[in-house]
Symmetry: C2
Subunit: 275 residues, 2 copies
């Protein structure tokens, strides 16, 4: 019997651990799905690298995920979504979802005054992609982008609720407060982990948007429309979530288990440049 | 006529821009030498990655430098020196110099009480390599290592003399002060750029060791002993310093010109994984 494509796994990738915030939303919202996650920990971070390089890396990763027969690919990294999504969509036969469009959509639904802030890596902000998506729908919207390059190292160092993180956040965010935005997109998958610091500085009147949440909703919707939703519960002990990295499997596993409800049982290291 | 090997360039590599602090010492101390510099900006940083990955990256870079007919290779990165030097020495026919042994040698010459601190990346500190080199010579020495993972992003963000950098440095360094060290090795090529902050916290009684300086001295000595020193002044307009990176040539050039006395005229991007 031909294997049912609906039972094939969803491929999810990121430059490292940040995309786990997207993977955990997928696990919450569509718990019957299998996932193959890849984190490019040998080449992390992506946020200060060029479009050409990020695209080449993303193509290698897509080939790796396809070798696991994934039915769709989620680009769970804002930088890769900003730079490589178009190319992947053209090159691949499976449907691709990034985190930028869902985040932009949610910001559009939430903003009242049309003034939206976006924080992210240098690459994501430099690409102007949130701006483009939002103004496609609402031409009078005004988007203010701000790169926050120290947030990723601060998160990875575990300083999630620390005076230093607050001080740095205050420097990055004060200009956005002055600009009277009412909505702020957390345009990097690491940022939800310091959501409370960001929220404290921005104040209660600013809605924080976590694109991970909306991405999982769009993914579910897309799978449904294409009759790709898995309706078979994973068998007990079948390990529905597989994790791969390009370096440091043990460290990745530790971090993953610190933010995931589901136990990350094992992580394998592969040579991504061979794909 | 056979080309004189003494006029061949010196290969210098690092994970990114940090090794430029070593390159500029070489330029100062042996100004007649040509240099081919490679910064692995597509895969930077190395400091939190594994030995296996750093070794594989270093081997690719060595092959690239040899394709430029370098007469020797300087591993201008503490992490790569800690993890990959042994392997490169075994595999290559040209002499190799790292930054760790020269730094350790200088610390031995400077310490009075035999209590030496080393700061560096997680990988460098985790390797225990400074410890091993120093105690090879002075068995009663006591080495205290401290990983400072936020220093590199803070330096790259340009916060060289900033209250945040001071606060982070105070956290990392306070335990070393309590341990009564009299010598501190700056075991990462980025750290000389925040030397003044580190010096302020450690106080005047602690000697700061910059391995870049001693590395250039050892390099000169080694070239002399092997009759490899170049005694021919580079011709005017011959561009004796060539820079290559794996990503972001323009950004690299800007940074380089901010810390180098010699103008970095051009930088080329190459695909390092093809080597």
């Amino acid at each position: 019997m031909k294997e049912d494509i609906r039972q094939a796994p969803i491929g999810v990738f990121d430059s490292g651990v940040g995309g786990l915030t997207v993977a955990r939303e997928i696990m919450r919202q569509i718990p019957k799905e299998r996932i193959v996650y890849f984190g490019d920990t040998a080449r992390v971070p992506y946020g200060n690298k060029s479009k050409e390089t990020i695209t080449r890396f993303s193509e290698q990763i897509a080939r790796f995920l396809l070798s696991h027969n994934v039915k769709t690919i989620v680009v769970a990294c804002n930088t890769a979504s900003a730079y490589a999504l178009d190319t992947l969509e053209k090159e691949l036969d499976v449907p691709i979802i990034g985190v930028v469009r869902p985040g932009a959509k949610m910001a559009l639904a939430k903003t009242r005054n049309g003034k939206v802030g976006v924080i992210g890596t240098e690459a994501t902000i430099g690409s102007g992609i949130y701006d483009a998506y939002i103004r496609e729908v609402r031409t009078d919207a005004v988007i203010y982008g701000k790169a926050c390059p120290l947030f990723v190292p601060l998160v990875e160092e575990g300083l999630w609720e620390d005076p230093v993180t607050e001080e740095i956040a205050r420097r990055y965010l004060s200009e956005l407060i002055d600009l009277d935005i009412d909505t702020l997109i957390l345009g990097c998958t690491h940022y939800p982990l310091i959501r409370s610091v960001i929220g404290k500085i921005m104040g209660e009147d600013v809605t924080l948007i976590n694109p991970a949440y909306e991405t999982a909703i769009e993914l579910k919707q897309m799978l449904k429309e294409r009759d790709l939703l898995n309706d078979v519960e994973p068998a007990l002990g079948s390990n529905p979530y597989q994790f791969y990295v390009s370096d440091g499997a043990e460290k990745f596993k530790q971090f993953a288990n610190s933010i995931m409800k589901y136990g990350v049982l094992s992580t394998k290291t592969i040579h991504i440049e061979d794909y």
